[in-house]
């Protein structure tokens, strides 16, 4: 039976019920059924990391997960990071200060990869940060400012003079 069937997914703290085909990818469910378009699709085969979300707190590729597989799990997307009034969290704020994004397409995936890393590593060094980033591709920044953003967010350097 390949037809749509009922599904309830727990996303950013809320339940969402729908009816979708088994083959609908989690990335497409989030983007098109829930209109949470912050999660982006790049390569569609798990290599680029633009689609990275948190499943039970761990970064995974939403383009390699079927929506139905995610039933019963806790899904977190980039839209959950800022406060309800839109206030950026400290990691997002550090990205802004460090100019850690240009086109911004890879940014949500990188933020989701870094969110548990940031929580579990109070003082990571550059090589640990680069290792954590190795599963996300960025074509614009060259990664250096992203590394700086994590160093700023973890209080290890301060941002250069900013307005």
């Amino acid at each position: 039976m390949t037809e749509p069937r009922p599904i309830t997914l727990h996303v950013n703290g809320r339940d969402h019920t729908d009816e979708v085909e088994p083959r609908l990818l989690l990335s497409d469910f989030l983007r098109h059924r829930l209109r949470l378009t912050g999660t982006h699709v790049g390569c569609e085969h798990g290599v680029c990391g633009a689609c990275t979300i948190l499943l039970d707190g761990e970064p995974v590729r939403s383009c390699l997960t079927f929506a139905h597989q995610a039933a019963g799990h806790e899904i977190t997307t980039v839209e959950n990071l800022a406060g309800p009034d839109g206030t950026l969290n400290s990691l997002q704020q550090a990205f802004r200060q460090a100019h850690a994004l240009q086109c911004g397409y890879c940014t949500p995936g990188i933020l989701m990869t870094l969110t548990p890393f940031f929580a579990e590593n109070p003082k990571p060094d550059e090589s640990e940060i680069r290792d954590a980033l190795s599963g996300n591709l960025c074509r614009c920044t060259g990664y250096q400012n992203i590394v700086d953003a994590v160093l700023i967010a973890t209080g290890q350097i301060t941002a250069k003079g900013t307005t």
Binding site: E21, R23, L24, R31, R35, L36, T37, G38, T39, H40, V41, G42, C48, A50, T77, V78, E79, L81, A82, G86, L88, Q92, F95, R96, Q97, H99, L101, Q102, C103, G104, Y105, C106, T107, P108, L111, E126, L137, C138, R139, C140, V147, D148, L151, Q156, I157, T158, A159, K160, G161, T162, T163
Partner: protein
Amino acid sequence: MSPTSPSITARKLLGAPLTRNEDPVLLRGAAQFVDDVELPDALHATFLRSPYAHAKLGPIDVSAALERPGVIAVYTAADLGPVCRPSPLVVPAAPVPGLIFNEATHTPLATGKVRYAGEPVAMIIAESRYLAEDALADISVDYEPLPVVVDLKRAATPDAPRVHDHIVGNVAAIAHQTKGDYAAAAANAHKIIRRQLSYEHGMAHPMETRCVAARYDTLAAHLTVWASTQAPAALRTALAERLSLGDHDLRVVAPFVGGGFGVKVLMYYPEEILIP
């Protein structure tokens, strides 16, 4: 990284980092890229692409695809009429004396033969991307493979397979440019070094792949196109000409664009013409 960088310095615009106005919306995941633009009831396109680098294009049978539920239309070059003519030349011939210039641009869908692996042969319009891709398997195409040349030097020889049948040696242009007096410089040179430099094919690979969406408002007789492009104004001009519209009858919007690096500029990709 210095752990003791000074923090906030004197506030001047010149020479001091500025935070960008667009960052908050990008960081929140709220920025609209082309695929994020909500177009309720939009149809979706996919393209059947040639697996051959060079082949004669025989009959294309789309009947099975048209019968698939959820498929709205299938187009081949024959269905496109005047839309299917060679794309405008993006960079005009340089004013170099004695220039040899062979203009040969592509058509939105392959006509007569396919000239590169991946050249679009048919466009399927369906209710979802998933359904459109299902229909790809329904289309049968008669290809007659032709000899392939993918090496630059070999392609330039007179008896190399021709990408365009009338262009011998696949030459797009030959331009000889001179400056100064080489003979005199050579006569006085300490040493003359000659090198032939080979370098690799350059690729752009923005994280956001190319994307285009369009909506035609029948009441207002107005076409809106959203394209992940570096050149929306130029694209508008090209589309107006191609679709015989006045400049004010259509609008091309480049929303947030996920990188371009040159690959999204002035190419008149088949999709950019076909989707509108």
